[in-house]
C-alpha cells in the first residue's frame, strides 16, 4: 500500500520526477518525501559517520535523515531535506554520502568498525607519525566526512533582498498563527503572516480533525481567503523566519522559485522584517525514543506518519507498528486504522495504556530491536523480558513533543523545564522583547488551546500597542491532550541512536559521562551531538535527559540548550543576496570617464572609484612605455589628469578658520583669502590621519580636500569635531566631492594651456602666484574654481567645473593644448611624478606614520590645541628616528621594490636589525632608473649611505643609495615660476 484515498494533493495532475535516476510520479501538493513514500521508497540516504541506511524520518524541516542533492549541474543543492522539497515537474534528486550505489555503500564498512569510532576517538589517535596527519589521516577523514557534494560551479540563480515593516509579525500559519493573524488583521493593524510551508495550516493539515462542523483544511481555506482579502495583511508563504535579531528585526527567507523547475525571477528573497510585536507560533516537534537499531528506514516519527497519511495520502508499507509512550501515538494508530492501514502493533510502556481503536495493543512493552538491512522488516517487542518479533514495514515512534521555541531563545534566553509538560518551554523573561510565544510552541498543544491561545496572544500584543482587538469566533476543536510520559530511551546493549545524522548513540553519551565530558556543552562537542543539519531538533532534549539519568540529576540541573540563528539552514546565496559580480560594490566613475574610455584608457579600481590608470597609444607595447611617455610629456609640456576623486568639503561659518585650526596640525586661520595651504591632519593619538589642501575662498568660506581613500572617514571626523568637541563654533560642513569635476593641469606649459580656456582671467605669476585660488569662469561663462597647487612638482593648477562639464572640459583641454604637448595622464604617471617629487601618498600615509617620519614634525604647531598635537609629545613618538628618504639603486639596472626591508650593509638580516622598508617605488624616466621612497632609521642623517634592500620573498637583495626624497627640482623653483 502506498497511496491512500483523500489527501491534499491534486490528483488531476501528474508530476514526473527521478531519484537516483529512477523515474517516479507524484502530484502537485507532494513533497519529494511524500512522493517517495507514495512510491514505496524507504531508503534515501546514509548517515554521517557509520553510513547506516537511512529513510524519511519526519515530515517537516526537522528532518535529520532524508537528505538529498536536489537538481543537478550548477543548480545542484546538497543536503536538501526531502521533506521540505516541493515536488515539481522534472525534479531530479540523488542520494549522497555513499561510495558505490546507495544500497551497497562501500563506506558502510564503517558501521562494522563502529566500536573503534566511539565518541571522541579521533582526539586519541592519528598522532603518530606526525607527518601522517596532513598526508594520510586527515585527507582520509575529510573524504569520508562531509555530506553532499557541491557542484563547484557558480550559482546561476538570482537572489534578492528587501525590507518589510509591520505592527505584528506572526510566525507560523498553523492553528495558533492563523487565529492570531485573523484577530490582528481584522483590527486593521499591519500584519505579516509568515509560514515555512507552501500551504497554510500547519498541523491542521496533518490531522484528521474537524474544526466545528468541517474538516480542518476547509476551515483553513476559509480563514486564508479572508486573510488574503485584507489589504493590511500580507502572507509570506514558503517563508522561513530564521532569526530574531535586536529590536524587533527578523530575518526571513522567502523561497520564491524553489518550487519551480527554474525560478521565474529570483530563487529566494531575504526579507528583513521590522516588527513592533511578534507572535511565534511555530508549533512543536515530536521526540523519538532511542532503542536498539532505531535508525532503520521505515522508522519514523508517529506524528509524521500521521501527516503523510492525512495530508499526502501516502503510507510507505502495508504493515505499520507504533511505539508510543503517550496517548498521541494511539491517535496515529487510530487514524491509520480509519484510513485502512493495517496496524500490527501498538507498543506502549505504560501498563495501563488504553487503545483508541481496533489494533493490537502491547501495553507495558517496549521495542527492543529491529531487523531489515535496507529497510525495516521486523520489530522486537519486549514485555517483562520476553521478546517477540512482529512484522512491520513502518514503525511510528511517539515520544512526546518539544515546543519549537527556537526563535524565543535567539537572544540567549534560556528555556525553562516544565514538569507538567515534560518539555522545555519558553522562559517568561529573557526572550526577544515584543515576542510572545503561542500555541504548541508555548506548550498549548491541543488544537482548541492553540486556536484560543493564538487569538489571545494577538489581542494582548495589540493591547500592548494601545490597539484593541476583538477575539474572533473560533470553531470548536479537539482538546485531546497527548499526555506526555517521556520514555527517554530503552535500555539495552546494542546501539540506540539519539542523533541520527551524526550517529550519536546512547552509548556515546555514556562514554562522555564516563570521561567527565558532562557539562552539556562538553557532551555536545565530544560526541558531535546536535551539530548535524537538523541542529539537534530531534536529538538535544533526549540527549540531555539521558545524561541527566546518568548523573542522577534532573534535566534542568543537567543543562539546557539554547538556540541561535538560523532556525533552519539558509543558503549562502540569499544571505549574500543581490549582486556578487561587478556590482558587488558600487562603482564610482570620474566625470571624464566617457572620454577616457573612448581614448582606450586602462582603468584601475581605487577604492570605490574606477580611475584611468594610463592611456596607451598605438605602438606602445608595455604599460611602462605609456607611463614613461605620460610623465615625460607632462614634465616637458603639459599633462592633464582627472583628480575629482579627492574628497572636497565645503567649510563655512564665522568660525571656519578657528575650526580648521583645531583640525589641522598646522595653522589655517591665518591663511589669506584667495590662498591655499597644505594641511596635515593628525588622529588624536598623534599619528598622521590624512593630508590635503585648504583653500580660503572668503573670510567665512574654505574648501578643503582630503585623500581619495579617506574622504568618508575624514568628513565623519570633521563632523565629530564640529558637533561633539566644539559645538560652540559657528561652522557648517557639507561634502561637495561629486559636484565638481577637478583636473590637474601640470607642466611647464600649464599656464599657456589654461590661458586658452579661462575667460579673461590673469594667470600671471604676479596676479595668481603659487598657492593662489580663485573663482572664475572658463570656456565662455562656465563657473569654475582654480587652485594653483602641484603634486607633480611642476608648474601646476587644479581646475574645477560643475561635474557634468568635466568630460567636455577634459576633451577641450587636450584639444586646445595639442600644440603645447597636452597629454592626458593616469594614476600611474601621477604616482611616478609624486614619488619623483617625494610627496607622501597612501603607501606612506598608512596610519602608522608620524609627522616626524614624513619630515613634517615642525608643522605640528605647539601654539594651538589641534587634534593629535599633545600625543605627539609621548616619549616613544619623540624618539622615532625613521624618516622618509629617497632610494636609488647603486647599479642603475637594479630594481627598487616596494615592500623590501632596509638593512645596513653587512649585518645579519633579521627582525632585530631591520631598519625600515621601501614604501613606494617606480621607474623614473626623469632619473633614468628605478627609484623609491622609504622609511629608514635615522634616515635624515644617512644621505649618501649605501644600504641593502632585502626582498627574500622574491629572492632579491639590492644595494641602494640613500638620497633626498626630492628627485625632481628639490628647490621647488618650477612650481613657483
Amino acid at each position: 500500500m502506498t497511496r491512500l484515498s483523500g489527501g491534499l494533493i491534486d490528483r488531476s495532475k501528474t508530476l514526473r520526477f527521478s531519484f537516483n535516476g529512477q523515474g517516479y510520479t507524484g502530484h502537485p501538493g507532494d513533497t519529494l518525501a511524500s512522493a517517495l513514500l507514495a512510491n514505496g521508497v524507504r531508503l534515501v540516504g546514509r548517515s554521517f559517520k557509520y553510513h547506516r541506511p537511512r529513510g524519511i524520518f519526519a515530515a517537516g524541516s526537522e528532518e535529520p535523515n532524508a537528505l538529498v542533492i536536489l537538481r543537478g549541474g550548477a543548480r545542484a543543492e546538497p543536503n536538501t531535506r526531502a521533506t521540505v522539497a516541493e515536488l515539481f515537474e522534472g525534479l531530479e534528486a540523488t542520494s549522497q554520502n555513499h561510495v558505490g550505489p546507495l544500497g551497497f555503500d562501500l563506506l558502510a564498512v564503517n558501521d562494522l568498525l563502529s566500536p573503534f569510532f566511539a565518541a571522541g576517538f579521533y582526539y586519541k589517535t592519528f598522532m603518530w607519525p606526525k607527518v601522517f596527519w596532513e598526508k594520510l589521516y586527515e585527507p582520509m577523514i575529510r573524504r569520508a566526512a562531509g555530506l553532499g557534494a557541491m557542484s563547484m560551479q557558480p550559482d546561476p540563480d538570482a537572489y534578492d533582498k528587501g525590507f518589510l515593516h509591520c505592527d505584528l509579525l506572526v510566525i507560523g500559519g498553523g492553528a495558533a498563527g492563523l487565529a492570531a493573524a485573523l484577530t490582528a488583521a481584522r483590527s486593521g493593524v499591519r500584519v505579516i503572516l509568515a509560514d515555512e510551508d507552501f500551504r497554510l495550516g500547519g498541523r491542521l493539515l496533518a490531522e484528521g480533525e474537524a474544526l466545528g462542523d468541517r474538516p480542518a483544511p476547509d476551515w483553513v481555506a476559509e480563514a486564508e481567503a479572508e486573510l488574503v482579502s485584507l489589504p493590511n495583511l500580507r502572507i509570506l508563504r514558503r517563508t522561513t523566519v530564521f532569526g530574531a535579531f535586536d529590536h524587533g528585526i527578523y530575518g526571513a527567507v522567502e523561497r520564491v522559485g524553489d518550487h519551480l523547475p527554474t525560478p521565474a525571477t529570483v530563487r529566494q528573497t531575504l526579507w528583513r522584517i521590522t516588527a513592533k510585536r511578534i507572535i511565534l507560533a511555530a508549533g512543536a516537534t515530536e521526540r523519538h525514543i532511542p532503542f536498539a537499531n532505531n535508525d532503520r528506514p521505515g522508522i519514523m516519527l508517529a506524528g509524521a506518519l500521521r501527516a503523510y497519511v492525512h495530508r499526502w495520502a501516502a503510507c510507505p508499507a502495508d504493515k505499520v507498528a507504533i511505539f508510543t509512550s503517550n496517548d498521541d501515538g494511539h491517535r496515529t494508530a487510530a487514524d491509520l486504522v480509519a484510513k485502512g492501514v493495517q496496524v500490527t502493533a501498538v507498543i506502549d510502556p505504560r501498563r495501563d495504556a488504553k487503545a483508541l481503536g481496533q489494533y493490537p495493543l502491547f501495553a507495558g512493552s517496549v521495542v527492543t530491536d529491529t531487523k531489515g538491512r535496507l529497510g525495516l522488516s521486523h520489530v522486537q517487542i519486549t514485555r517483562d523480558a520476553a521478546p517477540v518479533w512482529i512484522k512491520a514495514g513502518v514503525l511510528g515512534v511517539a515520544g512526546g513533543w518539544n515546543p519549537n521555541l527556537h526563535l524565543a531563545s535567539h537572544h540567549r534566553g534560556r528555556p525553562e523545564w516544565s514538569e507538567a509538560h515534560q518539555a522545555f518551554l519558553p522562559a517568561p523573561a529573557g526572550g526577544p522583547p515584543g515576542l510572545t510565544v503561542a500555541g504548541a510552541a508555548a506548550g498549548q498543544g491541543t488544537t482548541q488551546a492553540a486556536l484560543m491561545n493564538g487569538a489571545e496572544a494577538a489581542r494582548a500584543a495589540l493591547a500592548d500597542l494601545g490597539i484593541s482587538a476583538n477575539l474572533p469566533d473560533l470553531p470548536a476543536a479537539s482538546d485531546a491532550k497527548g499526555n506526555q510520559h517521556p520514555l527517554w530511551h530503552v535500555p539495552g546493549k546494542a546501539r540506540a541512536w539519539v542523533d541520527f545524522q551524526n550517529d550519536v548513540t546512547v552509548k556515546d553519551i555514556k562514554l562522555a559521562h564516563q570521561e567527565n565530558m558532562r557539562p552539556v556543552e562538553h557532551l555536545k562537542r565530544w560526541t558531535t551531538l546536535g551539530m548535524a543539519t537538523d541542529q539537534g531538533k530531534t536529538a538535544n532534549v533526549t540527549a540531555l535527559a539521558v545524561m541527566a539519568e546518568l548523573t542522577g540529576q534532573s534535566i534542568p540541573q543537567t543543562g539546557t540548550t539554547i538556540f541561535r540563528p538560523p532556525y533552519t539552514p539558509v543558503s549562502m546565496a540569499v544571505l549574500g543576496g543581490g549582486d556578487t559580480g561587478p556590482h558587488f560594490r558600487p562603482r564610482r566613475l570620474t566625470p571624464s570617464h566617457e572620454w577616457a574610455a573612448a581614448q582606450g584608457a586602462v582603468f584601475v579600481e581605487v577604492g570605490q572609484w574606477m580611475r584611468a590608470q594610463y592611456f596607451p597609444r598605438p605602438g606602445e607595447t608595455t604599460w611602462r612605455q605609456t607611463v614613461d611617455r605620460e610623465v615625460l610629456a607632462t614634465r616637458a609640456g603639459v599633462g592633464i589628469c582627472d583628480v575629482t576623486t579627492l574628497g572636497k568639503v565645503d567649510v563655512q561659518g564665522r568660525d571656519a578658520g578657528a575650526f580648521l585650526d583645531r583640525l589641522y596640525a598646522n595653522p589655517m586661520a591665518s591663511l589669506k583669502v584667495g590662498m591655499v595651504r597644505y594641511g596635515l591632519m593628525l588622529r588624536e593619538d598623534g599619528h598622521v590621519y590624512d593630508d590635503g589642501t585648504c583653500a580660503r575662498l572668503a573670510e567665512d568660506h574654505y574648501v578643503v580636500t582630503t585623500t581619495t581613500a579617506q574622504a568618508g572617514p575624514v568628513y565623519r571626523h570633521m563632523e565629530f569635531a564640529r558637533q561633539c568637541l566644539w559645538p560652540e563654533l559657528d561652522v557648517q560642513l557639507i561634502s561637495t566631492t561629486d559636484a565638481w569635476a577637478q583636473f590637474s593641469v601640470a607642466g611647464p606649459n600649464a599656464r599657456r594651456l589654461l590661458e586658452r580656456v579661462v575667460d579673461g582671467f590673469d594667470l600671471s605669476n604676479e596676479a595668481f602666484p603659487f598657492m593662489a585660488c580663485a573663482p572664475l569662469t572658463v570656456c565662455g561663462g562656465l563657473r569654475a574654481r582654480l587652485f594653483r597647487i602641484s603634486f607633480s612638482g611642476e608648474l601646476a593648477y587644479e581646475l574645477a567645473v560643475p561635474a557634468r562639464y568635466g568630460n567636455a572640459l577634459m576633451a577641450r583641454l587636450v584639444q586646445v593644448g595639442a600644440d603645447l604637448g597636452a597629454t592626458p595622464y593616469g594614476t600611474e604617471a601621477l604616482g611616478v611624478m609624486r614619488i619623483e617629487k617625494g610627496h607622501a601618498a597612501g603607501n606612506e600615509l598608512n596610519g602608522q606614520t608620524t609627522a616626524q617620519m614624513l619630515g613634517m614634525g615642525k608643522m605640528v604647531s605647539a601654539k594651538k590645541d589641534a587634534i593629535g598635537t599633545v600625543m605627539t609629545r609621548r616619549e616613544g613618538m619623540l624618539a622615532e628616528t625613521r624618516a622618509l628618504v629617497g632610494l636609488q639603486p647603486v647599479d642603475p639596472a637594479d630594481p627598487v621594490t616596494a615592500g623590501a626591508h632596509l638593512f645596513a650593509e653587512g649585518v645579519a638580516q633579521d627582525t632585530w636589525s631591520d631598519q625600515g622598508w621601501i614604501t613606494s617605488a617606480c621607474f623614473s624616466p626623469h632619473v633614468g632608473s628605478a627609484i623609491g621612497l622609504g622609511f629608514l632609521a635615522s634616515g635624515t642623517t644617512r644621505l649618501g649611505e649605501v644600504i641593502v634592500a632585502a626582498n627574500p620573498l622574491e629572492g632579491k637583495s639590492t644595494r641602494l643609495r640613500v638620497v633626498s626624497p626630492h628627485f625632481v627640482d628639490p628647490e621647488g623653483g618650477r612650481l613657483r615660476d
Partner: protein
C-alpha cells in the same frame, strides 16, 4: 592514561570500559601558589606550561563556566603567523612553532592541520603592503610566498577571477598556517594540566581580589576565598570587568565577533582563504563544514550574539569571492566577545598590583596565540621576567607612545 591508536583499538575490543575521565573535578584548596583566572585556552595553556615546563606546583585554574567555554570554544580555528610588526611577528611565529609539536607534546590530537592560508591581493598598493609583510615574516623565521594571479588561480580555481568587482591580482601564502580543532586544543591543555597536578575548578566565578598594601593575596570566588601567591588573569572578553575588581581601567573594549558554519560538504577548499576587499575568510573543517567569518559587529557588546547586517556582509563577501558556494547553507552562527585593544595588539604584563598579572586584549587573534600566550604568561608568572617574544606587549606602551598598530587604525578598537 596515554592516548594512542593501540589504546583505541584495545578499548574498542573491551567495550570502552577502561577510559578514564579526561580530568578530575577537584574541590578548591584554601590556597595555591598560582591561581589562573579563566579556564579558556590561554588560561589552560598557562597552567599547563607553568606545571610542565616551569615545574611549578600548587596551581589552580578557576573557570566561571565549563572548561574551554571562553573564546577557544567559539572561533574560526585559524592558526597563522603572518603578522607585520616586530612587536607581533616573532611572537606569533613562536606560537606557530609550538603548534607544530603540540599534539605530540600533550598527547592529544587537536587536529593541527597545516593546509596553508592565502591572503588575496586586489591592488598594487596591497601587493606592496603584503610584500612588506611577507618579508617581515621571513625575516622573523616564518615562511611566506608571494603568488601572482596565475599561481592563485592554480591554487584556488573556483575563486571569481573573471567577473569580480575587485579582481584578484595575487596572494600572500603561508603554507605552515592552517587550522586546529579548537575544543581539542582546550581539552588537550586541560588534560595535560590535570596530569601535571593542576586543579581545574569549573563553575567557580571570581567575584573579587583581596589586595592589601598593593599586593594581591587571593581571590574571592563563588566557591569561597582562595589564597594565591600570584594571580594570572586570562579572561579575554571579560578583562575589563575582572580587572575593574582590582581597580584598573584597561585600554580595551569588548566587541562581538560572529562566526559561521555551513552544513557539511565534501571537501571543496583545502586551506584558509581571506578576502580583504569583502570582509570574508573561510576554511573547511574536517567534518566538512565551511567555517567562515568577517568583521566584528562594531559596537561594544557582552551579549554573545550579533546582528543580521554582519551575517549579510560576510555572505556577500563569500558570494563575491566564491560564487560556487551559493547553494551551500549556513547552519550555525555564534558570537564571541573580543577583547579589542586600542592598537589591536594584546597585553601580557605585570600590573601595578604586585602579584597580579594580566593576559588580555587578543582582539580576534587569540586562538592562534594560545600556545605562545600560555607559554609566555607562564614564563612571566614563574620567573617574573617578560618572555622575549612579548617584550613589546606591555601595558604602558600606550602612554609611552610605543603602540603596535598593525592596521594603522589608531585608538579605535572596532577598526582593528
Amino acid at each position: 592514561m596515554r592516548f594512542s591508536g593501540f589504546r583505541v583499538i584495545a578499548e574498542a575490543l573491551t567495550g570502552h570500559k577502561g577510559w578514564k575521565p579526561l580530568w578530575r573535578n577537584p574541590d578548591p584548596q584554601p590556597a595555591y601558589d598560582y591561581v589562573i583566572v579563566g579556564g579558556g585556552g590561554h588560561g589552560l595553556a598557562t597552567a599547563y606550561y607553568l606545571a610542565k615546563t616551569f615545574r611549578q606546583a600548587r596551581i589552580a585554574v578557576l573557570e566561571k563556566g565549563w572548561l574551554g567555554s571562553g573564546n577557544i570554544g567559539r572561533n574560526t580555528t585559524i592558526i597563522r603567523s603572518n603578522y607585520l610588526l616586530p612587536g607581533n611577528e616573532p611572537f606569533y611565529e613562536f606560537s606557530m612553532k609550538l603548534w607544530e609539536g603540540l599534539e605530540q607534546e600533550f598527547n592529544f590530537n587537536a587536529m593541527v592541520s597545516q593546509r596553508g592560508i592565502l591572503n588575496l591581493i586586489h591592488t598594487d598598493g596591497q601587493r606592496d603592503a603584503y610584500r612588506r609583510r611577507g618579508n617581515a615574516m621571513l625575516l622573523a623565521g616564518a615562511d611566506a610566498e608571494l603568488l601572482n594571479r596565475d599561481q592563485v588561480r592554480e591554487m584556488a580555481p573556483y575563486l571569481n577571477f573573471d567577473n569580480a568587482r575587485f579582481p584578484i591580482k595575487g596572494g600572500l601564502v603561508q603554507r605552515r598556517a592552517g587550522t586546529a580543532r579548537h575544543d581539542g586544543v582546550a581539552w588537550g591543555y586541560a588534560r595535560g594540566a590535570d596530569i601535571h597536578g593542576v586543579d581545574l575548578i569549573q563553575n567557580c566565578e571570581v567575584t573579587g581580589f583581596r589586595i592589601e598594601n598593593g599586593r594581591v593575596l587571593g581571590v574571592e570566588t563563588s566557591r569561597g576565598y582562595i589564597g594565591a601567591g600570584k594571580v594570572g588573569v586570562a579572561v579575554a572578553g571579560s578583562s575589563s570587568r575582572v580587572m575593574a575588581m582590582a581597580g584598573m581601567r584597561l585600554p580595551i573594549e569588548s566587541h562581538v565577533l560572529q562566526a559561521f558554519v555551513s552544513e557539511g560538504l565534501k571537501p571543496l577548499i583545502p586551506g584558509v582563504i581571506t578576502f580583504g576587499a569583502g570582509h570574508f575568510y573561510v576554511s573547511q573543517s574536517d567534518k566538512g563544514g565551511l567555517v567562515f567569518g568577517g568583521d566584528i559587529d562594531g559596537y561594544n557588546s557582552y551579549a554573545q550574539r550579533g546582528n543580521l547586517p554582519v551575517i549579510e556582509d560576510v555572505a556577500e563577501g563569500g558570494m563575491a569571492l566564491m560564487p560556487m558556494i551559493g547553494r551551500a547553507r549556513l547552519l550555525r552562527t555564534w558570537g564571541g566577545i573580543m577583547d579589542m585593544s586600542m592598537d589591536g595588539t594584546p597585553i601580557i604584563d605585570k600590573t601595578p598590583v604586585e602579584g597580579l598579572f594580566l593576559n588580555a586584549g587578543w582582539c580576534y587573534g587569540g586562538f592562534k596565540a594560545t600556545p605562545a600566550s600560555g607559554y609566555a604568561f607562564a614564563h612571566l608568572l614563574a620567573t617574573g621576567q617578560t618572555h622575549d617574544t612579548t617584550r613589546f606587549m606591555r601595558l604602558d606602551r600606550f602612554e609611552r607612545g610605543h603602540v603596535i598598530d598593525e592596521k594603522g587604525m589608531g585608538a579605535q578598537p572596532n577598526l582593528h
